[in-house]
Symmetry: D2
Subunit: 128 residues, 4 copies
């Protein structure tokens, strides 16, 4: 049954966060999983996947992390996908528009980190 679902997806939903969110909602509903998808549980799952992502880098140097072998890169991409999936599901559970929330946070960061004062160092805004 995968083909029809994939086809449906390709035809009917634009390839955006909202398209992804709707597909994930249908996926969870079809399995009666929304009962498990409280914001608390989804946040737990998200942090678990973030840990699995970091696991790939924990013993690497910065430089090595910038030059991954193809198989490792694929594995990292799959963990990134898992983080994204839980984040999108959390946005459903919370009723938060992810892209809008991120745009607003960047607006704030542009105020907190003026380019001329923040340039080239890694201090937090309250240390600038």
């Amino acid at each position: 049954m995968r083909q029809p679902t994939a086809a449906y997806h390709t035809l009917m939903t634009p390839d955006t966060v909202e398209g992804l969110r709707q597909r994930l909602l249908q996926f969870a509903q079809a399995r009666d999983w929304l009962q498990f998808h409280s914001p608390k549980n989804l946040s737990c799952a998200l942090v678990v996947e973030a840990g699995e992502l970091l696991e790939h880098f924990q013993w690497l140097t910065d430089e090595e992390s910038r030059n991954l072998a193809p198989a490792k890169r694929e594995a990292v991409a799959a963990e990134m996908a898992d983080v994204f999936i839980y984040l999108v599901q959390l946005s459903s559970a919370m009723g938060v528009d992810l892209v809008q929330a991120a745009q607003q946070k960047i607006d704030l960061n542009e105020q907190r980190y003026p380019a001329d004062r923040a340039r080239g160092h890694n201090k937090k805004y309250d240390e600038l």
Copy 2:
């Protein structure tokens, strides 16, 4: 200088993950921050933000996490934005298309978790 940047954003980039990615890239470039944005460092930052997200829920019941007061909900949305921002920056550093990676992972999950066998319980696919 925030207004022009925001205006530029609104006019020139669609409100998508790719638009967000380009805006974040310009933000980091303007501050000479790409030197810090190795996949290792961005994964660290992502997991730190995921922890800050979870902090809001750590002592709540499932039910309480589904019924947050408005101020708490805003705070959670801001942490979700931070997670998303680092994830999108990581996608730049890794050259990974986030939405595509997520769609492919859902394709895989549809195979791993057939709706009729996965319905209503929380087992991992290798325990089904």
Copy 3:
């Protein structure tokens, strides 16, 4: 009332993990907090504190992380304490002897990582 408690602690409990565990148990009981200390919640709290620990290092180079300024070092020590406190409380909630569990894990790691094969590289045991 802090002095008597501290005095009691100094006199009655040896400065060990078990002494710490008993002190934390009394601390939680006196505040009627054991109702919140499920293994799930304590694991959430532990991962949150682990994230706060990592936050201090997220943008540092390896070398910088080995040479912290005194104030930063104190802040890191306080986060390590928080991680340890939740881990010890989790050991109470789970009935697990932490030191013994760690000793057994090192026994296992000595088998998984024979010194002559594991020397000087950072591969996982199933890649050796």
Copy 4:
């Protein structure tokens, strides 16, 4: 060669955090691993293990997390051991006395959370 090491451990070091710390130091030195054990890397490893710990609980209710089947309990204990091992190794790398740091933090928490005001609820000290 495991038996002699274990025997050595049993005979020569008390079963304490300091005994564990010394054993782990010898373990890392014998494999020339201290080069990887920067505070940054050890903090990454710690948060990764904390995530693996939380993974066992992510979809469970609070009540289920208090009543684990024996095999699950063993698996959780092994993850707790991993967290503890990295925390002890970090204490070596940082020159921090873990038990002392924890005792001091509890001293502070006794001031922040007076029993009569903190009893029975889960508010943070600055919300009391």
